[in-house]
Symmetry: C2
Subunit: 201 residues, 2 copies
DNA sequence: GTCTATACGGTGATAGAC
DNA sequence: GTCTATCACCGTATAGAC
């Protein structure tokens, strides 16, 4: 992260940021391995060699995309977790935050969903694993609090519930399109309703 | 599909089937694009060129893995759908079938989850799209029957419920391991319980 | 059924001119 | 900040010997 110039005061992005956004979209659509530096350069209207004026490598591009996103996401989680709401309210807000992330950082979430598993095997992307662990611990604590408070069922396997929530929420990035007919908030409402009360009548 | 020799009467697999199983595991672990023919050959203890005695191309390997799996899966769906159970029972059995598929065809499901999106853009893999459409229609019909019969909630967006079920069930392939502590049936029980009744108490 | 040897296109990346 | 030119490597796939 050479400089903190994501957006200037007028909302104009630097060339570097434009290129990173273009790369993120392509990575999200086709996968990281499946996107060539020439694809990125073509989409940006330049030649592949010119990309290396801005970035060390293709790998450092995903790295920056993912690490920036993760930092922002966990910062927003932190706000919820330190609040003094009850467990059920926290669960709801955490789920809503996730759908907001899908809405606002769509490419980064998609890349994370598709390529993180493979990438996190490399030392450079070890922080992805660390974040996953942190994420699981936060949720497991939250869920057991909910059971203790009597607002969540106690007859379910806690780890399974955690995976259920994690997967169902994030996998929505596969079909959710920002700016589509359904807003992130509407999706979150329905998902929470299903998650909390089920689909049976 | 040159010959129908998946397993002989004694349970012995042909060399060709062995190689296909090895390829499937690697594709599932690392992704199709990310697995080289040399990786497959190495894992099989032969040289990459030798693979081409058995298969036309790397692409034809995934093709066979995916198409074989899809055919088997939809055949088992058919049995459930033509039965005269009520909608709720059918939903339950469809979900169970999916977890059984994850258990018994783990690699194929994983490949489908990770690479089908990208592959189905190619004409050769158009059948993946067709199957997805078929799958959606079957589920949408089933869900609207459930609402009509009064066993499923009618206040939810039907398409959203469909996506929720589809994603929830199949994404479990990411963490479920055949032969692990949890059986496919135990997972199905808990998932159905959450799906139908929710996690709130 | 596997090996040796090899063709050939694509890929990430570099050096220096403009 | 971008282009030209180019490299070394890795990828799939082939032909024919054993």
């Amino acid at each position: 992260m050479p400089d903190a110039s994501t957006t200037s005061g007028t909302g104009a992005a630097t060339r570097r940021d434009e290129l990173l956004a273009i790369a993120a979209e392509l990575f999200a659509e086709r996968g990281f391995k499946n996107t060539t530096v020439r694809d990125i350069a073509d989409a940006a209207g330049i030649l592949s060699g010119s990309l290396y004026h801005h970035f060390d490598s293709k790998e450092s591009m995903v790295d920056e995309i993912l690490s920036t996103f993760q930092a922002a996401l966990f910062a927003s989680y932190e706000e919820v977790l330190v609040s003094d709401s009850d467990a059920r309210a926290k669960v709801e807000r955490m789920v809503r935050l996730s759908f907001e992330a899908i809405d606002q950082h769509h490419s980064a979430v998609a890349i994370f969903q598709n390529d993180a598993g493979y990438l996190s095997a490399y030392p450079r992307f070890g922080y992805l694993r660390d974040r996953s662990t942190q994420f699981r611990e936060v949720w497991m604590t939250l869920l057991s609090q909910g059971v203790k408070e009597g607002v969540l069922r106690k007859d379910l396997d806690a780890t399974l519930v955690y995976r259920f929530i994690r997967d169902t929420v994030w996998v929505a990035v596969r079909w959710y399109r920002p700016g589509g007919t359904l807003s992130a908030d509407e999706v979150a409402n329905q998902y929470l309703s299903i998650l909390l009360d089920g689909i049976a009548s």
